[in-house]
């Protein structure tokens, strides 16, 4: 097959599977003008869902970033038993369906779960509340930073870190001054992917949230509810809002994109 033919196939595949559906969402959203869309995304429920989505992401993503960097360092630089097991476990969230993750969280933290009675004795509610949604989001977006940072660490090697040690830098100084700046684009990319995943998560969050309107309803849950209630236009509007956040995230990545130092 010629190169032009290959390119056409690739573009057609992208168009049919990605561009057309996303495009239709925007088209349907703005079909009846901007006013209707604006009304639909500024209802109290929609505004609350928007901020809740952001809130969950703002808690989950930094935690995953910190965990991801520490884990990647331990996996790449460390020498310890059980490393390959941990390495496999990291990918569990990719392998397990989010619905199963949601159910698993209920089994642990729910009222009848393992920790349920202890938690309710102490007045802590996790399931059907924001903490549970944060837990679910952390779970599903956990591998991204590790998987972006680990190969970068492997590629830069440990000679710069050794050099820093011979120059008198403590491990802490070496981390902040040498390691972190070297992996910053890996972290940034991992954070963008984590954010996109956190904002778009539906299955796990849907199960642990209880979908209480105005309390535990994120944008994805709002889209589903409106669609279920035959408010198709409202569902499209909320979808478009979600898509806009995702696009803004991707755009942020392009803007902060590695200032390529001349090689």
């Amino acid at each position: 097959m010629s190169r032009v033919g290959l390119r056409a196939v690739a573009l057609a595949y992208l168009a049919v599977l990605l561009l057309v559906p996303v495009g239709v969402v925007f088209y349907k959203t703005f079909e009846h003008g901007l006013g209707a869309v604006f009304d639909s995304v500024t209802t109290p429920a929609a505004i609350h869902a928007f901020w809740l989505t952001i809130e969950v992401a703002v808690i989950a993503v930094p935690l995953n970033a910190a965990f991801g960097v520490i884990t990647a360092l331990a996996l790449v630089r460390g020498r310890w038993r059980g490393k390959s097991l941990v390495n496999a476990i990291i990918d569990l969230p990719f392998a397990i369906s989010p619905v199963v993750i949601g159910l698993a969280l209920i089994l642990v933290y729910g009222r009848n779960g393992w920790l349920g009675s202890w938690l309710s004795d102490h007045g802590i509610q996790i399931i059907f509340a924001v903490p549970g949604m944060v837990l679910a989001t952390i779970f599903v977006s956990l591998p991204f930073v590790v998987r972006e940072v680990a190969p970068v660490l492997r590629e830069i090697g440990d000679e710069q870190e050794q050099a820093a040690a011979t120059l008198g830098a403590s491990s802490w100084q070496t981390f902040w001054r040498v390691t972190l700046p070297s992996i910053r684009w890996g972290i940034a990319y991992g954070v963008v992917l984590s954010t996109a995943r956190a904002i778009g998560e539906f299955g796990a969050v849907s199960i642990v949230s209880g979908k209480v309107a105005g309390q535990t309803e994120t944008l994805t849950l709002l889209v589903e509810k409106r669609y279920g209630n035959f408010d198709v236009a409202g569902a499209y509007a909320a979808s478009a809002l979600l898509a806009l956040i995702a696009l803004a995230t991707l755009l942020a990545m392009t803007v902060i994109n590695p200032r390529k130092e001349p090689a």
Partner: protein
């Protein structure tokens, strides 16, 4: 002064160093010379604290440093592949050791400027390492190591990644630098010419042991064994002896102690001419002559000649 005492180090089943002891006099430039796998880099990394020995001790300037991390050994280390901090400018690379020591800014700037002058990178302070050539990067790495005024400077195959011309330049540059700053220096190399040109003392390592320590001339002229002799220069065999090819003499007629041989090949290498001979006893040898010596003899393939060892030269029994 650096002293290592009875150092042994294993990596799994591989014995990198076996009971190695060595002294590096203060202010000297000592080369650790040996083939790859001889343990020379491991020994250097043990002195630096980047590896720890299974047994034995390391003394730096009289203090037992065996258990100390690299940060507390007062060393400067230069890596074969530079280990430049890629995200920092040349200035920041050199300033690194002073910054982590929280020295005042004006002092750091003055010291960095001085060092960049010494290593010939005065105009390059604002560049990134990726904008430098290999030789410039290694000079930056040297300035970075010297910035913290180390007790000892450790160089791990510092010119190994550079091309031949730059390597030769940096060698003589390093020698001059050492004559100026006088810091006790240990250089690891597998290149005997580099060791002989730069170092005042050479320790020859082989299979995790020190074979011989001495000045370059001493090692070349009085090698302790056939390994040292072979590693420091070309060797050829005549009769039951190993000799240097330039210590053999070719004559058209028999002389006392000479052996008959037939010329098999004459190789002209410019100033030097190598004559390959088949000895009457069935052995082969080669003789190194100057161009004028060879011209005088007018040798051609198939000629019958007489070869003998020049008196008073290096020879050891094979």
């Amino acid at each position: 002064m650096i002293a290592v005492r009875d150092i042994s180090k294993r990596f799994g089943a591989f014995e990198a160093l076996h009971d190695v002891s060595l002294e590096v006099p203060a202010g000297s430039l000592t080369a650790l010379l040996g083939p790859s796998g001889s343990g020379k880099s491991t020994l250097l990394r043990i002195i630096a604290g980047l590896e720890f020995p299974d047994s034995g001790s390391v003394l730096i300037a009289g203090d037992d440093a065996t258990a100390r991390p690299p940060q507390q050994r007062g060393i400067g280390f230069v890596f074969q592949h530079y280990a430049a901090f890629k995200h920092m400018t040349v200035h920041d690379n050199v300033a690194f050791g002073l910054r982590v020591r929280k020295r005042p800014r004006p002092e750091i700037d003055a010291r960095v400027k001085e060092l960049l002058g010494i290593v010939g990178l005065a105009g390059y302070a604002d560049r990134h390492p990726s904008q430098l050539s290999g030789g410039q990067r290694q000079r930056m790495a040297l300035a970075r190591a010297l910035a913290v005024e180390p007790e000892v400077l450790l160089l791990d195959e510092p010119f190994g990644a550079l091309d031949a011309k730059v390597r030769a330049e940096l060698r003589s540059w390093l020698r001059r630098l050492h004559d100026e700053v006088h810091v006790t220096t240990v250089l690891v190399t597998h290149d005997q010419e580099e060791a002989m040109e730069v170092a005042d003392r050479i320790a020859v390592l082989n299979e995790g042991r020190v074979e011989q320590v001495g000045g370059p001339r001493e090692l070349y002229e009085r090698p302790a064994n056939d390994f040292v002799m072979g590693f420091l220069g070309p060797v050829t065999r005549i009769g039951a002896e190993l000799v240097r090819p330039h210590d053999l003499k070719i004559a058209p007629l028999p002389e006392p102690g000479s052996a008959e041989a037939q010329v098999t090949r004459v190789v002209h290498l410019g100033f030097e001419v190598r004559v390959e001979l088949a000895l009457a006893d069935g052995g082969e040898t080669s003789v190194q002559l100057t161009k004028s010596e060879a011209d005088e003899l007018e040798l051609a393939d198939g000629d019958i000649v007489h070869v003998r060892t020049l008196g008073g030269r290096t020879r050891i029994s094979a």
